[in-house]
Symmetry: D2
Subunit: 336 residues, 4 copies
C-alpha cells in the first residue's frame, strides 16, 4: 500500500452504490470519506455501516477537499454532469455504466475528457471477473491461436419492473451494453452490428416498446464474428457464459455453480442446484477488483480500468443494435 | 418386420452412398437390390460387400422391377431429375440434401411431388440422432415450457477442398442447410433470416467467394429467435451442440465424448480426449435410424422422415441467408 | 483377415452365449460353425439367427472336426471339464469367468494348461472396454507417473434372483471377480486382501449367507493400494468407474452417459438421464473386442487376451476376500 | 446479534490461529480480546492486524476477566490442559483437532467435560463446509433413501515436513482424523475399523515409521460401509470428495474448481486449471462458519458444533485404524 488510503467520495447509495461502499471499506487502499445522495437516509445508512460524511448534495462532496477520487453510482441521467464536474476539479472518476443514454451528450463531453488528463474509468465490472479476465488473458497469450469467433450468452434471471424498463433506454443500452463491452474486451475493433429483438414474455417490454429477447452479431475489421444471446429471463438463474474460438482451440467460461453437490437418482444423474441468483452474487469479486483497480488508476499507477472511450464505444454499439433491430439492416459503426 | 425386406435401389456410391449401403444391408427390414453409379467399379465394390446388382445407368435400376424404393446419394445436380423419375414410376425416394442448389428447379418439381402421392424423404439425418431427437421430443413434451430461444453451434473439423467449395453452393446451402433444418425441427415457422459471413482462414472459400465463418439469426412468427454459429474449422473435432431455452428452463445437447477417460495432472484437470472426428462417426446411428424410418415411410406406415417440403424450406432459408450476408439486410421468408 | 474365418464352436446359449454368437457372426474373421446346448431349442434359435450346426452334446461339437476354437459360455460347473477336453483336442478355448468356484479344481488343471501349448483365454471382457483399456495403456505409458492407488467403483443396478445367489459362489467370486481382474490389469502383483461385507437390503443375500455390499482393499508388493467398492444395487443404473492415482496425476474412467442431453430447470441444472442399464449394454463393444482378440490368440498371433492364470489369480483373490470378510483379518495371497 | 460481541481469547497464532483471528475480527458477533502465544512476536503481529491484548501466558488470558470464550489453536500436546482449565473457569472452548494423541488423556478428561456444563467444541471445520454440510442435510432429508455406503477421497497436495511427521501421531491421527469425523457426520455409529497403510513415496513417513498412503474401511451397526482413501500427495491439488450412496440414489461432493474457464485444443478438451491448493483456501468459508457456530454455542444458543465426544470418537477410530494397519486385523470399536 502506498502512504495513506485513497479517500473516495461515493455519489449514489442504491443497490450498486451499497456494493461499492462495502468494497471501499474493505479494501486496505481505499477509505469512504463522503457519501452523497438526495435520499439522505440511504446515505446515512451506508455511513453507519462503512463510515464517511453524508450530504444530499454531490457538489458538497466534490468540493469538500476531503475526497481524492469519485465513484458515481447515481441515476444515469446525472452521469455526464458529475463526470464533467469531477474532471474539472481534477478528481479521478469511476462511473457506473452507461455514461448516458444519449450519444450526443457523451460525444459532447469527449474532448474535455481527452484533454483533461484526469483518469475516468467506466464501471464495466465483468472485465474484472476472475473467469472472464483469465479467459481474455489466455486468449491474449495465444492459447487458442488467432481469435475467430466469440459467443456470449447473457441471460438475466427475470425481467426488471416495467417502470425500470420505461427509463432504461432499452435492452441494448441497459443490458447488452455489458456484453458489448465484453465483446470489445476480446475484440475491440468492431465495424458492424446486426441485431434481432423480439418481445414474447415480458409485459413491461411490450408496454414500453422494448425487447425481452435479443441476439446481436458483431463483425470486426479482421473478420472475426461475435454473437451475443440475450434474454430478460433465465429460469435456472443468472446465465453468463462465453466461448472464444480460435485457430487452435477454444476457451470456455462456464456458469458459476452454486454448490459442489450433485444428486443422482432414478430420475436423473449429476443434477446440480440452480446457478447463483444474480449479478451482485455472481460478480461480487469483480466489483471488488474493479474498485481496487480504480484506486491504482486514481494514483496514477498502471491500471486496466476500462475508459470513457470504452463507455462511449459500448453505447455506440447499443445504438447501432437498436437501429438494426428496428430497421432490419446491418449497421456500420466507427469506434475510432 | 412385415413380410419381406424392402428392396432398395441405391444411386451413388460415394462416401455417403457407402454408409447407406451398409445400413441397408444391416437393417433386417431392408435389402440392397440394385446399385447404380457411372463409376461402375465403385458400385461393384459396394455390391461385393453388401450384395445387389450393379449398373452404370440409374434408369436401368429404376425400371428393373426389382426395387421397391430408391435412395439417391448421387451428386446434387442429379437429384431433381432422379426424384421426378422415381415418383413417376411410383417409387418412394430418400434423397440426400440439398434437393438442388437452384430454388427454381425445386419449386418447379414441387406440385408434382404434392400431387403424386408417392413418399419423398429428405436426408436430414440429424433429426434421427438420438440426442437431438430426444431434445426435440422433450421440448414438445413441455419440459422447458414455451420455447423462446434456440442456439445451434455447428463447426466442422476442417474446411473442405477448394474444388468442393467451388461447386458446393456456398456455406449456407452446403453446411448451414443442416442447421436450418434442425432449427425448423424445433421451430418450423421461420419468417425472417439475418446472416453475417466472413472469410478469415480458408483459401478455398476466399478463392470462390464463399465464407468460412458465419452466424445466422432466424426469427419465428411467434417471436422465438434461433442463432446458428458456424465455422469451417474446429480444432477440437466436430463441434455439434444445441440449447433450447424455454420459459421454465433449457435442454442442452453436448458434444459426443470420444472417450470416458479424463486426465488430471499438474497442468490441468479433467482433460478429455478431443471429440469424434466428423459426421460419419458422430451421426452413424442417425444414418441407420434415418434409413429405418424411410423404410417405414416407403411401406406406408407412420414415419417421421423429413419431407420434400422440409428440403425446400431449408434451401429457402439458405438462399435468404446468402442474400442477407451479401446485402446486409434481414430477409423475410415465406415457407408456406 | 488371414485366409478363411476361424470356425468357432459355441457351448452354451444363455444370455452371454447369445452375445458371443452375435459377435462371432458379425466379426469378419470368425464364423459360428457349431452350437451346443442341452436345451436344444436355445441352440436352434441362435443357429436360425447366426448360422451353425446344432447339438445337445458338447462332445459332438468338440469332435466334429469343424471347429477351430471353442467358446465356453455354459454354467460354471462345466468349465473345467470343457477346457480340459478342448485343450486335449488341441482346440483353443475362450472360457467365461469364473473358471470354477473351487480353487482346488482350478489348480488341478493348471499344469495341464501350462504344458499343453494350446491357448486358453478367460472372459474378463472389461479389459477390452475402450475406456478401461485406454486408461491402462495411458498408465503404462507413464501419463500419471508411478501408480500409487487405484479405486474401482462397481455397482450393479439390482441384486440377482435369490436362486442365482444360492449357486453364485458369493459376491466376491461372482461379482467382484471382475474387479479383481481389473485391479490386476493395472497392478498384477497383489500380495494381500482385506475385505468387509455386509447385508443390508437384499433378502436373497441374507437367505444364502452372502453379502450385498462389500469393500475390498488390495495391497501390491510395491505398496500400491487398490480399493474396490461394490454394491448389488445402484439406483441410477450400472455404476462402473475407476481412478488411477500416480505420482504426477490421475486418470479417471467415468460412467457412460446414456444420452448427450441434459435438462436445466428451476429444480436443478445439468440433470442427465440415468446411466445405461447393465453390462450387456455397457460392455457391448468390450465383448466384441474380446472375441476379436481371442481369434488372434487362436491363430497364434499376438494377443492381449487374459489367460488361465489370470482366471486363477482372480479366484484366489476372491477366496481371500471371502475369508477376510468372514474372519476379519487381512489375508496374504501368492499369485505366483 | 445479541447484545455485544462475544469476546474471544485466542491461544496459538500459527497458521490456523491466524485464520481464526481473521474470522473472529470479521464476524460481527465476535471480537478478539486476548491473544496468547509463547512466541510473543506472533501474537503481536495478529493483534496489530485484528486487535486484542497480547500475552505469552495462556493463564493470563484465561483469568483476564475479559474473555467470554476460548479458541485453542496451540500445539496438540497443550490441548487437554487448556480445555480443562477453561472448563474449570466456566469458559466455553473451541479446540483444534485432535484433542490429544493419547486416548488415555482424552478419556481422563471426559467425565469432567460431561459434568461441567460448559460447552466444548472440536475444530472439525469440514462439517461447516457448504458442500459437505449440504450433502449431509440432504441425506438426512432422505433424498437418497437409507444410506448404505459412503466413500471419502481425501488427498493432500504434498507430504508435510519430516519433522512434522515425527510428532504428528501418524497419518490416521493427523490427517484421516478429519475423514473419521466426516464419516461420523453422516454415520455416527461406527463399530469396526479396517485399515491398510503403505509407504511408497515420502521419505519422512519412511523415516518415522508412518504411512503416506492409506485406505480405511469402517462398518456401522446397521451394516453401512464407509471407505476412506487417503494419500499424502495429490499432483492436481487438494482432492476432497465424497459420495453418499443410498437406496434411491447418491449425492456427490465434487472438488472446488479453481476457475470457471476450460481450454479445448487438439490435445484435449474441457481441460480446467488444477484445484485450489490446500485446506486454508478450500475450507476458508468452513472456518468462518465454524467460528460463527461456536459463538452461538458459547452463548447457549442452538448449535451444530461438533463436541468433545466427537473429538474422542475420531481419535478412537484413528487408534483402531493404526492398530488394524499394523496387526492386519479388523478392530472393533465402542464409541458409546
Amino acid at each position: 500500500m502506498t502512504n495513506r488510503p485513497l479517500r473516495i467520495g461515493l455519489i449514489g447509495t442504491g443497490r450498486i452504490g451499497q456494493v461499492h461502499a462495502a468494497n471501499i471499506a474493505a479494501d486496505a487502499e481505499t477509505t469512504l470519506s463522503w457519501i452523497a445522495d438526495p435520499f439522505v437516509a440511504g446515505a446515512e445508512a451506508v455511513a453507519a455501516r462503512h463510515g464517511g460524511r453524508v450530504t444530499d448534495d454531490p457538489e458538497r462532496l466534490l468540493t469538500s477537499g476531503e475526497v481524492d477520487a469519485v465513484l458515481v453510482a447515481s441515476p444515469t441521467a446525472t452521469h455526464v454532469d458529475l463526470i464533467a464536474r469531477s474532471v474539472d476539479l481534477g478528481l479521478p472518476v469511476l462511473c457506473e455504466k452507461p455514461i448516458d443514454l444519449d450519444i450526443a451528450r457523451v460525444d459532447a463531453l469527449r474532448p474535455r475528457i481527452a484533454s483533461a488528463g484526469v483518469p475516468v474509468a467506466l464501471g464495466f465490472n465483468r472485465r474484472f471477473d476472475p473467469a472472464f479476465a483469465s479467459a481474455r488473458t489466455r486468449v491474449e497469450a495465444g492459447e487458442v491461436g488467432a481469435l475467430e469467433q466469440l459467443t456470449i450468452i447473457s441471460r438475466d434471471p427475470a425481467a426488471p419492473p416495467a417502470d425500470y424498463v420505461a427509463v432504461s433506454g432499452g435492452i441494448f443500452r441497459d443490458m447488452t451494453i455489458h456484453d458489448f463491452d465484453m465483446a470489445r474486451f476480446f475484440l475491440p475493433d468492431i465495424v458492424e452490428v446486426q441485431a434481432t429483438g423480439t418481445t414474447t414474455f415480458d409485459a413491461g417490454a411490450r408496454l414500453h416498446g422494448d425487447f425481452d429477447t435479443a441476439v446481436c452479431t458483431l463483425r470486426t475489421s479482421s473478420g472475426a464474428i461475435v454473437t451475443i444471446v440475450n434474454s430478460r429471463h433465465s429460469a435456472v438463474g443468472y446465465d453468463q457464459r462465453l466461448e472464444a474460438f480460435g485457430a487452435r482451440g477454444h476457451l470456455s467460461v462456464a456458469n458459476a455453480p452454486s454448490s459442489l453437490v450433485s444428486l443422482s437418482t432414478t430420475a436423473a444423474v449429476e443434477a446440480k442446484p440452480p446457478y447463483e441468483n444474480f449479478f451482485l452474487e455472481r460478480y461480487a469479486r469483480a466489483y471488488a477488483a474493479e474498485l481496487h483497480e480504480f484506486a491504482k488508476l486514481a494514483r496514477g499507477e498502471a491500471s486496466t480500468s476500462p475508459t470513457y472511450e470504452d463507455g462511449r464505444a459500448a453505447l455506440v454499439l447499443a445504438d447501432a443494435a437498436q437501429r438494426s433491430a428496428v430497421d432490419r439492416v446491418a449497421v456500420a459503426v466507427d469506434l475510432g
